[in-house]
Each structure stands twice: as C-alpha cells, then as structure tokens.
Subunit: 387 residues, 2 copies
C-alpha cells in the first residue's frame, strides 16, 4: 500500500518542490505594497532575466501558463491579424483556440502528434509573405502532451529573417530544462509557468517581452484588463504589481531561483538531458515504445505508448504500489500513452526509482523478464554517469 | 526596532494567515488531475457554497479578485450592453475601467469617496428602464479603498425588481466578514479573493454564478479564454479545473474553510462587527477622524483621516516601532488617510495592540494625552466584550 504524503511526482507539472521552497511558501505573508515586497520583486525579476538569458522585461502574472500565453497574444495583436500557429499537440491546439477566440486569421502549420513541426514549413510561409502581413508566429517549444521538442532555434531564425512577425513561444516545459537563450534567438514573447522547471507549485506564470513586442503592444486593440501586460510593465517600473500577486508563491520563487543559480544553467540543462536519455533508453530496453520521434525528445517528459495494456490501469498500479504519480495521455491519447515527467527538482534516484517501478510492474504482468529490468537499470546508469 | 517575521498585518489584504493554513500551504503538491485533488475540489466547492449561503455554482480561479470580477463581467455580457456602474472608491472605479475596455455602455451612479452609494439612485434608473435595456448592475459591496460599505441589501432588491439586469458584485472584503446571503438577496455574480476574509494568502479568487448568470453567458460575445467561466463550469462538473490551478493554495483554502465552519458564520460576522466598533470608537477617542460616513462603516477596514500629520510617515513609524503594517491611502488619498484592516484572522489582541500602538505614537507626537489612550482602550474593551 502506498503511503500518502510520500508521493513522487513524476509528471510534467506540478513537479516536486524542494523543502527550502516549501518552507518559503509557508511563511506568513507580507503586504504586497510594502518596501519588503518591492525588494523581492526586484530580485526575482533580476533572476528571472538571468534564467531567460535576456535583457528583456520578464513579467510575473498570478495565473497558469495558459494565462501567460493569452496575455502575450492579446497584449500585442489586433483583431483580424494574420498569424501562423504551429500545432503538433494539445498545447499547440490550445493556442489555435485562443487565436480563434480573439478573431485572428490563422495559418496553421501542423504535424502529427508525436512528431515535430517542420521548420521548413515555417520558412516557406514566412518567405512567401512579401507584403509582411504575418504579425506573429505562435508555437510550443516542448509539447508537454506528446514529449516532443520542436526545433525552436531553427524556426526562430526564420521568424527573425521575416523581420516583421513576432515570435510568441510557449516555453512552459522548456525554460529551466534546456537551453532557451531568449536574446540570442531574439524571441519576442516567451511564456512559462511556475510548476515546471521553476520547482515551485502552480499559480505563477511568466512572460518575457522584447522591445519589438512592446512596440507592437502600442497598436494592439484586443480588449483586455487583468491580462494586459502594459499594466504589468508600468507597475514593474516601481517593482510592483497592478493587482494583488500571489505573495507566498513569490517567496517560493525567490528561493527556487537562488537554488537554480547555485546549480547553474549548464548543470540544470545537463541534468535534464541525462535524465531524458536514461529514461528513454531504459524504456526501450523494457520493450516500451516511445510515443515521440526519438530525435526530438523533450528534456522534460517522455511519453510511452504501451500496447496490450491500458495505460490508465498501468498508471494506477504504479501509483498504488510505489507512490509514484505518472501522467496519462490527454484527449484522444487517454489510455493509450502514459508520460514520465523528469522536470524540475528531479534527481538520479527519482529516475532509477521510476525505471525500477515500471520494470517490476511489467515483470508482474509477464511482459518482460527480470533480466531486462536489470539491463534497463544498467543502461540508465550509463547515461546518469555522464555529468 | 521592529522584528522582521513577527509582522502583524492590519491591512485589508493580504490578511494574517493561521499556522494550520500555512502548514497546509507548505505541503508537497499533488497532481491537479489526480483523484486526490478532485476530492479536494469537491469538498472546497461544497464549503465555498456554504460560505456564500448559496446553491449556485462557486468557481475557483487562480488569479486576483480583479480577475474574478473581470471573469464575471466578460463571461455574461456583450459589446454595447448597457450597464449601471456604482462608483464611490478605487474599486468601483476599476470596474468602470473594465466595462469601458470591453465596450459596454455605462450609466454611472457615483458618490463622493467616503460616502455610500444611494440605493434610491439605483431604484430610479432601474424603474425608468421600461425597455429593459440595462443588462447588469456592477458595484462594490465593501469599498476597501475608503472603508465604506454600500447598502447591497437594498440595492439588490431594486435590481431584483427590474427582473432583467444581472447583479455583478465585488464582495472581496465583505464575504467572510459580514452577512452576504447570496440566495436570499438573489445575487447573480459575486466575486471575492483569497487574501481577505478567507484567511489564506493571495492567489485564488472566487465567483458565484446564478442560473440567470449562466443563461446570460450563453449569449455573451466578448472574447475571452483564461477568464471564460463556462470552461470552469464544465471542468467543475468533474471536480476539476480547465487550467492548472494553484494546488497549494487549494490545500490552504480547504483548511481555512474548515476553520470558518468551526467558528460559524454568525460568530465570524459578530467578531468583525465588534472589531469594527472597537476600532472606530477608539479612533474617535484619540481625536482621529473617520474618513467614511459613520453609518456605513465597512466591517473589514477603517479609514482614518489625519490632519497635520503625513499619513505615510505615521504608518512608517507604526511599522518600524511596533511591526504593525497599516495600509495607506490609494491614489489622491495617499498621505491623507491610513487604513486599519480588521479582516480575517484577527483577534481581540490584534485590535487592542493597534489601538495602543496608534495611541502611543500620537502621545509621542503630542497629539493626545496618555489619559486619552487609556480611554480609547477602555471604549474598545467595551465593544470587545459584546460577543
């Protein structure tokens, strides 16, 4: 029987939270208009910029990652604006819905779920836009629903060449997991959420805004209030917020960003990379199929397709027996895949635990031999040693 | 010298948080799509309905009170809709701005800041609307910026008589502080925020929606995504959320609502009433002027007008010397008033402490005598005894 309160969160968010961050979260709140809180906004903003590798403004919103993406879209665009939406998973699909809701004209570039978006398609459409009518390119970097990472580096270079279009990027499960050099790639709008690489509970989201994005915001005519980023920019000049922020989550953010700085960006990215490789190699050794194209695996989440077994039942067994929470498939993938999150505050032990748990469960179901489980752990160990 | 971390929050939000609630907040998060979390949504929703004295849906949003008010407005109204906005303070003013941003046609009913809205003005305008063109009446119950409570009971009776118009009410500092019987007064949309009477840190907000409000939502054409309440209703039927909620704040909400149930609604309301009376009576004894009309004092916050003294300096002295945080005036009232919050997790000791601190500071500035401070405490004690 699993022990409640000793749950291991191997899902792509909420991710595990360090004790130090939980302690910060559980402090008595302070006034959000006080000098003490202004000091906190100043330091967290500075450290958010470090994490984003940018000199751009990085704004903190109380809301989910979806609220941050919506804020980026509605703060810079106008009704009828032509945009490209990349769609190869549930989140790409969601940004299409947002674009539709606000009356944007959508050119969709899609790919089958589990495969990456083709950068060439973006190049082709952008190059053909002689009149420079395309106002933005909206896409998801790491598609949490499928475990695919899109080639943002190449796609963003095509957006840059267009010169006019803004890049509006969902980096919810890539910021703090792999390299997203916002300034180097000249990303205009980058959205992310606290319950991911940030190692803090859900409730805060973040938007990085380039000068070009702010310029576009001057002409934006979509109605908005709570998610109008101009209000956040104005308040930030005074290290403040336009509306009462989730003060305690900002305490947590401050601690988590300090931990990230102690570890260093390179070490964080290498840790996620080796965990990704360990999990995918072990899965294959256990005869499990990767749902995502192996050349485009997300650093944060590995989606596994299991045949002959109901993925939901499998997840339940792992949860009940080992207190490890895996994520299920979303929408039409429910029951067909499960997803292993290896994002944020995850260490090598978490990785070998989840492999051992999955391996043992497959042994009990006569799907693999104990030798295979040993092999899976051995190959994981090989990847974990590289650091 | 004040001791950090022993701060007393006598502001109208964030309000003090009980240890039990902080402990819940600091727990390891769980998956927001898990059965355990669904159970939590079920119980907190049930208890939110208890707090609102309603059978209506009460939805939980990750965002500030402003996001909840905006959600109520944009989920039910359409561009060009005629609405009445009551405005007698900063929050009333904010809802006018939201209505303007979304292209509503506004009939403003206002009153000087510090005075209440006149229910007769609402009656007159609503009675004259033979064509039933007015779609909603938007107003603030307890005006946090001035310490005035509007007569919602009477105003809502006029809205009811109109039959067509929805009531959209900011109850951010009245829910959990004084009686707001949502069903009895037939309030359609009621918005509130976690960092107030709820005794939890900021980050969650709540919207109660009547059947009539849901019916109106079917015709609403304002663009919205994150704040579209229809998505929240759909998810709630499965005890879930459309977007990742602030899981740890929901842990805190659960604890806080249980504490509120243990205390009981009547006791909570009586506690706020006696604290309000104690503070206002003591203030007058100390020669301080109430900013708000004495017949319409908010149960949550008392605004004090001090002449010959800069209110900001006064607040700073109290903070530095006694570790008590008072709120300042907003906008044109900055420096002219200070506000004493007595909302949420506040006990009799907090009340006599703030009176003693204010009294002593006035003695040091030769504004009152030590006898007057003794008198102020005595009259406070008289009110505190009534329970």
């Amino acid at each position: 029987m699993a022990i409640q309160q000793k749950l291991s969160l191997m899902i792509p968010g909420p991710t595990p939270v360090p004790e130090k961050v939980l302690e910060a979260l559980g402090r008595h709140p302070i006034g959000h208009r006080s000098k003490d809180f202004q000091d906190l906004v100043e330091i967290t903003t500075k450290n958010l910029k470090w994490l984003h590798q940018t000199e751009n403004d990085v704004l903190t919103i109380t809301g989910s990652g979806t609220s941050a993406m919506e804020a980026g879209i509605i703060s810079t665009l106008s009704k009828g604006d032509k945009v490209i939406c990349g769609e190869n998973g549930k989140f790409g699909q969601r940004w299409v819905k947002v674009a539709e809701e606000f009356g944007l004209e959508i050119i969709k570039i899609d790919a089958e779920w589990g495969t990456p978006l083709d950068p060439e398609s973006f190049r082709a459409v952008l190059e053909k836009d002689y009149k420079k009518e395309i106002k933005a390119v909206i896409l998801t970097h790491s598609e949490t629903s499928t475990g695919v990472i899109n080639d943002l580096k190449t796609i963003s270079s095509h957006i840059r060449n267009h010169k006019k279009a803004l890049s509006i990027i969902d980096c919810v499960t890539s910021i703090g997991a792999c390299n997203v050099p916002v300034d180097e790639w000249e990303l205009d709008i980058v959205a992310s959420g606290s319950q991911k690489g940030y190692m803090i509970p859900p409730g805060l989201s973040f938007v990085s805004m380039s000068k070009k994005a702010w310029k576009a915001s001057e002409d934006s005519n979509l109605p908005k209030f709570y998610l109008n980023l101009k209000s956040y920019k104005k308040s930030l000049s005074n290290n403040s917020n336009p509306y009462t922020p989730a003060v305690n989550l900002v305490f947590a953010l401050d601690e988590a960003l300090k931990m990230m700085q102690d570890e260093g960006l390179d070490s964080i990215f290498k840790r996620h990379e080796k965990h990704k490789l360990a999990v995918s190699a072990a899965a294959k050794t256990l005869n499990l199929k990767l749902f995502a194209d192996e050349k485009h695996l997300s650093p944060s989440v590995t989606a596994i397709k299991i045949e002959d077994i109901d993925a939901e039942k499998f997840r339940k067994t792992i949860k009940n027996k080992y207190d490890i929470l895996l994520a299920g498939g979303q929408d039409h993938l429910k029951g067909k895949i499960f997803r292993i999150g290896h994002l944020g505050y995850v260490n090598d032990r978490d990785i070998i635990s989840v492999i051992a748990a999955i391996g043992n469960t497959l042994v009990e179901q006569d799907k693999v031999s104990t030798e295979q489980v040993g092999e899976a752990l051995k190959i994981a160990l090989f990847h974990l040693k590289v650091s």
